[in-house]
């Protein structure tokens, strides 16, 4: 599977929250913040699943 463009529909309040988060240095821009969220959420879910699978 190659790259894919995903479009998020966000209102001005949601964007304000993202922009304030970006201003804290969490990510350089909105798209990067979304991708960071995906990676960190996936990692956390993966850790949770791993922990859950332990005997």
């Amino acid at each position: 599977m190659n790259e894919k463009v995903v479009i998020l529909r966000l209102n001005q309040q949601q964007l304000e929250l993202l922009d304030r988060t970006i201003a804290q240095g969490v990510a350089p821009d909105r798209a990067a913040l979304v991708r960071l969220a995906l990676h960190e959420y996936a990692a956390k879910q993966g850790n949770a699943e791993t922990a859950h699978d332990r005997p």
């Binding site: 599977m1 190659n2 790259e3 894919k4 463009v5 995903v6 479009i7 998020l8 529909r9 966000l10 209102n11 001005q12 309040q13 949601q14 964007l15 929250l17 993202l18 988060t21 909105r30 798209a31 913040l33 979304v34 991708r35 969220a37 995906l38 990676h39 960190e40 959420y41 996936a42 956390k44 879910q45």
Partner: protein, 311 residues
């Protein structure tokens, strides 16, 4: 705390309640005389009765069983911590059930007249000019409740003993209104009504110093912030012909944010997406974004409210 100065003492007999002016820095102790008695509790801002304790806000921040270390909050848009629970020797209280009312006793038990928390509250607060419509949902002290797997709230018997008490420290001047719960045909007070002792103390410096800091935010609005701050005096509701809607942040404008995902990221999205969004990749990714944000940045995401103090 033996060094607290006693300012007032009262024993509420079964079927009664008492409205008490409790000033900031004073403590109201509500104490079992014999044990096994539920107490309903309300309070109002002493200087503006339109601000009052709100079980919903309190429940959101502190859960179904507020106890020592919890605050009692006022309703939106005020949302101030009015009282702080300094001590609670039994540790079982309820913010799920509303006050019992005459309707309950008539509809379920056939009583023409019966002691009920609604009526007792109304009669006690009438001393300060309030009406029965001004009674609001109560904080139910020493009341043992549970939520079933089916989502129903249920009442169980309590095991309080003489001397069990809960201490409220006033953070603002309030009219505090406790009453002996009138439910003698329910298990709330183990099928008997008993007296309850009230004591007002002057808090010590150590008492006051033990209260965790709470946020002071501009969203904690007071009448000076209201577009309409006039208390309505008539009962009839009539449309204001001069009304022009001024809803916050309206219009809500949606903007598109384009995100390019790699093959690995697409696989992550497919693995994590919630079925509710069907084939809508944008909605699925937006859910992940805000779920991540809640978990990383919101203190108490599960309750949808900021964490308070160090509880």
């Amino acid at each position: 705390m033996t060094d607290r100065k006693v300012l007032f003492e009262w024993v509420m007999q079964p079927g009664t309640g008492k409205a008490i002016e409790l000033l900031a820095g004073q403590i109201l102790r509500i104490e079992q005389v014999e044990g096994l008695q539920c107490v309903d509790f309300n309070c109002f801002n002493l200087h503006d009765y339109k601000e009052f304790m709100h079980c919903g806000r309190t429940r959101t921040v502190h859960g179904f069983n507020p106890t020592k270390g919890s605050f009692l909050w006022s309703a939106p848009p005020r949302e101030r911590a009015l009282l702080y629970i300094l001590d609670d020797t039994y540790g079982r209280n309820d913010v799920l059930f509303p006050r019992c009312s005459a309707y309950v006793y008539e509809s379920a038990y056939g009583f023409d007249a019966h002691t009920s928390c609604q009526d007792i509250q109304a009669e006690a607060q009438r001393e300060y000019g309030l009406t029965p419509d001004d009674v609001h949902d109560s904080f139910n002290l020493f009341m043992c409740t549970e939520v079933t797997m089916e989502g129903r709230a249920t009442i169980t018997r309590q095991e309080t003993k003489a001397g069990d008490h809960i201490d409220f420290l006033a953070l603002a001047d309030v009219l505090a209104v406790p009453n002996v719960c009138g439910a003698d045909v329910m298990r709330t007070s183990n099928f008997a009504l008993k007296p309850i002792k009230l004591t007002v103390f002057q808090a010590t410096d150590a008492d006051v110093a033990s209260v965790p800091r709470v946020p002071v935010l501009k969203s904690q609005r007071t009448p000076k912030d209201f577009r309409n701050a006039v208390i309505k005096a008539s009962r009839e509701l009539r449309r204001d012909p001069a009304y022009v809607a001024e809803f916050t942040n309206v219009p809500i404008v949606v903007e598109e944010v384009t995100v390019k995902l790699s093959a690995d990221e697409i696989a992550m999205l497919q693995r994590l997406r919630r079925p509710v969004y069907g084939n809508d990749d944008g909605a699925a990714l937006r859910d992940i974004l805000f779920t991540w944000w809640e978990e990383r940045f919101l203190g108490a995401a599960e309750s949808g409210a900021p964490a308070i103090g160090d509880r």
